[in-house]
């Protein structure tokens, strides 16, 4: 018997799992109107003109932890082109999680503003994870638009930043722009092979397909590069660890729907490959984030208490051993609820 997911969910919760849009969402339509290639924004001069006309400030954040091999190159490439040559960015900030290598020294020597995450809003304690840096960056930086770019990219190019900020400058309704790389889409001539990373394909896309099919239009939901408006980010909770990208997609979708998203093809991204163990931890954090929202959105009445221990295996001299990793996705509240933030930006929740 074919399972009617909608009826099944309704039987559990007494209500529909997600709000049904009045007009049926068409992935193909959205892809056509909200998916771009970075070359569509290569006229940086005109972006600068439009940015000035809208009186926007744009901040770029590089969250970092032990990235001495790549951080200098990222700063040189982005700062020289998008600050010195064209004043598209107003600030370039590195938020460091406590690197033990030369990351902070190198970043500062090439002209970035460098902060330790633990020194920002210290009264709210110190959490560990990329999401913590992204959240604290909102307090540290002044931009109306925030661009986040991972600090481990070896083939960084200026289009990583202007390709993401372009849709936000050109389309007022867009709140959040996600990157994708070297992947899908039927383009004008020929078809490129589709596929995200392993966690995307094995975990996130199946979850989205089951519960939030519209979000499958986001080609690489876990890409570490995105740009967003402050007025959207400041209202979102930030998982401090692995779940931050998934949380952003779910929360923005829940609040504003697919019209708030755009995505940009950045061609190719070369970075470190992660071990399956590391990806397992990431997936575990994402599950926590996902089901927390699944519950919060009223999709289920009650979920069992979630474990915070991930159990994996390793082969030790022919014997399989279980490794336990404690992974707890602590979340920060929306930054707009923080008095200091309200004072600094003159905003109310």
């Amino acid at each position: 018997m074919k399972l009617n997911l909608r009826k099944w969910l309704q039987s559990l919760t007494g209500r529909a799992p997600v709000k049904i849009p009045q007009k049926k969402f068409q992935v193909a339509d959205w892809l056509f109107t909200h998916t771009f290639h970075h070359s569509q924004f290569a006229d940086i001069k005109s972006l600068v003109v439009e940015k000035k006309r809208q009186n926007l400030r744009i901040s770029l954040c590089l969250p970092a932890l032990n990235e001495e091999k790549t951080i200098g190159k990222e700063i040189i490439m982005l700062k020289s082109e998008l600050m010195t040559r064209y004043p598209l960015l107003d600030e370039l900030v590195v938020i460091d999680s406590g690197s033990t290598d030369q990351t902070r020294e190198i970043a500062a020597s090439f002209g970035a503003s460098v902060y330790l995450a633990r020194d920002i809003l210290p009264q709210y304690g110190e959490k560990h994870g990329k999401g913590e840096n992204l959240w604290k960056a909102l307090y540290q930086m002044r931009g109306d638009i925030i661009i986040y770019i991972d600090a481990d990219i070896t083939n960084i190019r200026p289009h990583f930043a202007y390709g993401l900020v372009g849709p936000l400058i050109r389309m007022p309704e867009v709140q959040y722009v996600k990157a994708f790389y070297d992947r899908p889409l039927t383009v004008s001539k020929g078809v490129r092979v589709s596929g995200g990373g392993r966690v995307t394909e094995i975990q996130v896309r199946p979850l989205f397909s089951l519960f939030f099919p519209e979000l499958t239009a986001i080609i690489q939901p876990l890409s570490g590069e995105y740009a967003a408006r402050r007025k959207a980010l400041e209202r979102l909770p930030f998982p401090v660890g692995y779940g931050v990208e998934t949380a952003h997609l779910l929360d923005i979708y829940h609040r504003w729907g697919m019209a708030a998203f755009a995505q940009t093809d950045l061609d190719q991204r070369i970075h470190r490959n992660q071990s399956t163990h590391a990806l397992g931890k990431m997936a575990f954090g994402i599950y926590q984030t996902f089901f927390r929202r699944w519950k919060a959105y009223g999709c289920v009445e009650k979920l069992p208490a979630m474990e915070t221990v991930l159990r994996q295996f390793q082969n030790n001299d022919g014997r399989y051993e279980q490794i336990e990793s404690l992974i707890r996705e602590v979340e920060r509240p929306p930054i707009i609820t923080i008095p200091e933030y309200q004072q600094a930006f003159g905003r109310r929740p």
């Binding site: 001495e68 091999k69 790549t70 200098g72 190159k73 040189i76 490439m77 700062k79 020289s80 082109e81 010195t84 040559r85 030369q102 020294e105 190198i106 020597s109 090439f110 002209g111 070896t154 083939n155 070369i270």
Partner: protein
């Protein structure tokens, strides 16, 4: 010529601070001495160069990561032309052969000074041409040959703009294709033969080493020796040695050619290729060599001696050995006492560099062949470190400001006249 030297902060540098001035008797004025003025100017150029460092490094990375083996430099030239267009240079063009050019228009524009470098690289068929930025240096495949020099071409107009420095002469910025190996300076020769512009002086840029001042070209004979098995070779004969053993004999005989120390002469046997497997007799072996000498007569003698060697070994071993000369350049150039050499030496010295005056085999020879006075200079220091891959080079960031300041200083000296 206007010269309002500015620092990286945009504040004008005094034309001559008090320390560099001297008292003019009776006038009450302090006037600077000429050498001190040069020194102060160069310091200003250095600090302005610091302010464009990021753009130089960014372009260096962009050029360095674009594949450009000799005969396939189009992508690099296109990037160069796009950069020139963004900067707003005049007369941006890609000529019939594929060289890229832009002109910084002079206030008078009657004279033309040529600043050039090669766009091609020795990196062949490599997938990952990534350049790594470390705290004090950059590391990557042949990053020192010649990505920095290309980046200097695209950064020089910005530097002159920061300095608010305008020359009377046009500055032609040229990236040449087909320079290396079998290219044999074809791009530059094509430009010189077809540009239709009278060029007063030429400055060849090399990424390393800062301090080099090549004013003279050494003669060169570059060639491949092919050793091939004949059609009637007896493959079945046990112990058949194929083409490698006779080539070994050729190498041995060439290494025994007596070379004089004066005029300075050397033979580099740079590459040997041959065979396909452990157990297959090699059909063909190729030796690539380069002979260099300050004397054309000696180069001709070497050529004759190599021809004799291959004829003799070929006749004795029964294989076919041929010499394919791919480049031959005559020695020549400026005298060490030439005003341009003297002025450039003074500029390097005032920048605190130790000028290294020696002969080269670079693009300078094509310039000098058409009687244009010219020099080759380096832009920074670097090395091929033993722990790096063979093609990886390391270049230092800090000396780049001196490298660019030297470039502006020499161009200014030529523009002011009396040195070319």
């Amino acid at each position: 010529m206007t010269d309002l030297t500015q620092t990286s902060s945009g504040k004008p540098v005094p034309a001559c601070p008090s320390s560099a001035r001297e008292h003019r008797p009776g006038s009450g004025d302090i006037v600077p001495s000429a050498p001190d003025i040069l020194k102060v100017r160069l310091e200003g150029y250095k600090s302005a160069a610091e302010s464009v460092r990021d753009m130089l490094l960014a372009d260096l990375i962009r050029f360095g990561e674009i594949p450009a083996p000799t005969f396939a430099e189009e992508q690099r030239i296109r990037f160069l032309a796009n950069r020139f267009e963004e900067i707003g240079l005049a007369h941006i063009s890609i000529d019939g052969l594929g060289n890229g050019m832009g002109i910084i228009a002079g206030t008078e524009g009657r004279r033309n000074l040529l600043v050039l470098t090669n766009a091609d690289t020795l990196v062949k068929n490599i997938k990952d041409q990534t350049i790594e930025v470390r705290a004090d240096r950059l590391v990557g495949p042949f990053v020192g040959d010649n990505s920095i020099a290309l980046a200097a071409l695209t950064t020089l107009p910005l530097l002159l703009e920061r300095l608010k420095l305008q020359f009377k002469s046009n500055i032609i910025l040229l990236a040449t294709i087909r320079s290396l190996e079998r290219g044999n300076l074809e791009g530059l020769k094509h430009f010189l033969a077809n540009s239709g512009r009278y060029i007063e002086a030429g400055l060849c840029l090399e990424s390393v080493q800062l301090g080099r001042l090549n004013y003279h070209c050494i003669g060169l004979l570059r060639g491949d020796i092919h050793c091939r098995l004949p059609e009637n070779y007896n493959w079945a004969q046990f112990g058949a040695t194929g083409s490698i053993v006779p080539m070994g004999d050729v190498i041995n005989r060439i290494s025994q050619i007596a070379l004089p120390h004066r005029p300075l002469t050397t033979i580099i046997m740079g590459m040997v290729k041959g065979g396909i497997a452990y157990n297959n007799v090699a059909r063909e072996t190729v030796l690539s060599f380069e002979a260099r000498s300050e004397s054309l007569d000696i180069l001709n003698q070497i050529k004759q001696q190599i021809t004799d060697v291959i004829n003799e070994v070929g006749a004795r071993s029964g294989v076919k050995i041929t010499l394919d000369v791919i480049a031959q350049r005559e020695p020549g150039g400026l005298d060490i006492s030439h005003p341009l050499v003297r002025k450039a030496t003074a500029i390097l010295t005032d920048l605190g560099l130790q000028p290294m005056l020696y002969s080269t085999t670079s693009q300078l020879s094509a310039i000098q062949d058409v009687k244009i006075p010219g020099l080759t200079v380096g832009l920074t220091t670097g090395e091929r470190r033993y722990e790096l891959d063979e093609i990886d080079e390391s270049v230092n960031i800090a000396p780049l400001s001196s490298g660019l300041a030297q470039l502006v200083g020499i161009l200014q000296a030529i523009d002011e006249g009396g040195v070319s």
